[in-house]
């Protein structure tokens, strides 16, 4: 069963806020010149911020913030965040599948930014709503 797509906007201000809240102050997430020096196209979002946004989608679909049993992703492409008011947008979709356990549902997750997949093997197991 396909679940309704969720969309989350990400701006530079979000990256600064996430750096502070998470303690991950790697300058690739806030410094254009540092990002360029290490060969990145520009400032990129924390992979863990992208994973957190996809986690929001998962708990939204689950209908409860405490329903996740397992959650994993592979980071494949960076989410580039331009220095504009609009920033960029991460789109999250999922297909729900039965598991061997009737109380649990598996979600196969897809996260894209500007039409490009940014995660691979993204999966969550949630308690059945």
């Amino acid at each position: 069963m396909e679940l309704p797509t969720q969309r989350y906007r990400v701006t530079r201000a979000d990256l600064v806020r996430y750096a502070g809240a998470s303690g991950d102050f790697n300058p690739i997430h806030w410094s254009e010149s540092f990002a360029a020096k290490v060969g990145l196209p520009g400032v990129i979002a924390h992979g863990m911020l992208t994973m957190a946004l996809v986690g929001r989608a998962v708990t939204t679909w689950a209908g409860r913030p405490d329903a996740i049993v397992e959650y994993g992703v592979r980071f494949t492409r960076p989410v580039e965040v331009p220095d504009t008011e609009e920033g960029t947008e991460v789109e999250v979709s999922a297909v729900a599948k039965d598991t061997d356990d009737p109380g649990l549902v598996r979600l196969d997750l897809t996260a894209t930014c500007a039409g490009v997949k940014v995660l691979a093997q993204a999966k969550a197991v949630i308690k059945r709503p």
Partner: protein
């Protein structure tokens, strides 16, 4: 030159206890735009059966990322941190992290693989309360990029 695969299975001393604060959870939830009441309001969390506000699912990274530095900065293992990229991330939850928890992280090296000139280092963090209740297991895969050219 790859990482020494004999480090696989090595376990590190437990981290100093981490006090999970209500305001830290709120700050983290706000930073990711998560407005669920149970992240912000103790009453809403209690209505779901938790003793205080609960943390969003990726919150355990706040602890595990900091404490897993004892592995990536282990001089004997010799990871060049400037070449490290976060490859993948996985969590298995017994219950959500909750305000008021005192958490301890025990880190170990789950696997080291070399592929295509890069090293793939997977760490495992067992996060439990200082009283010994298991809360969440966190796996982080670091890619240590090989020298180019």
């Amino acid at each position: 030159m790859g990482l020494d695969q004999s480090f696989t299975g090595r376990s590190y001393p437990p981290s100093a206890p981490y006090q999970v604060g209500r305001e830290k959870i709120r700050e983290f939830a706000t930073a990711i735009g998560a407005e669920d009441a149970a992240y912000h309001d103790p009453e809403a969390a209690r209505a779901l059966g938790h003793p205080d506000v609960i943390a969003p699912p990726t919150f355990p990274m706040v602890l595990s990322m900091a404490t897993s530095r004892q592995i990536v900065e282990d001089p004997a293992l010799g990871v060049d941190y400037s070449r490290v990229v976060h490859g993948d991330q996985r969590f298995a939850y017994r219950r959500p992290v909750t305000a008021g928890d005192e958490l301890v992280c025990v880190n170990s090296i789950e696997s080291i693989n070399a592929r295509g000139g890069h090293d793939f280092l997977t760490t495992r963090s067992e996060i439990s309360t200082s009283a010994g209740e298991a809360v969440v297991t966190v796996w982080t895969m670091f890619v240590v990029r090989g020298e180019e050219g």
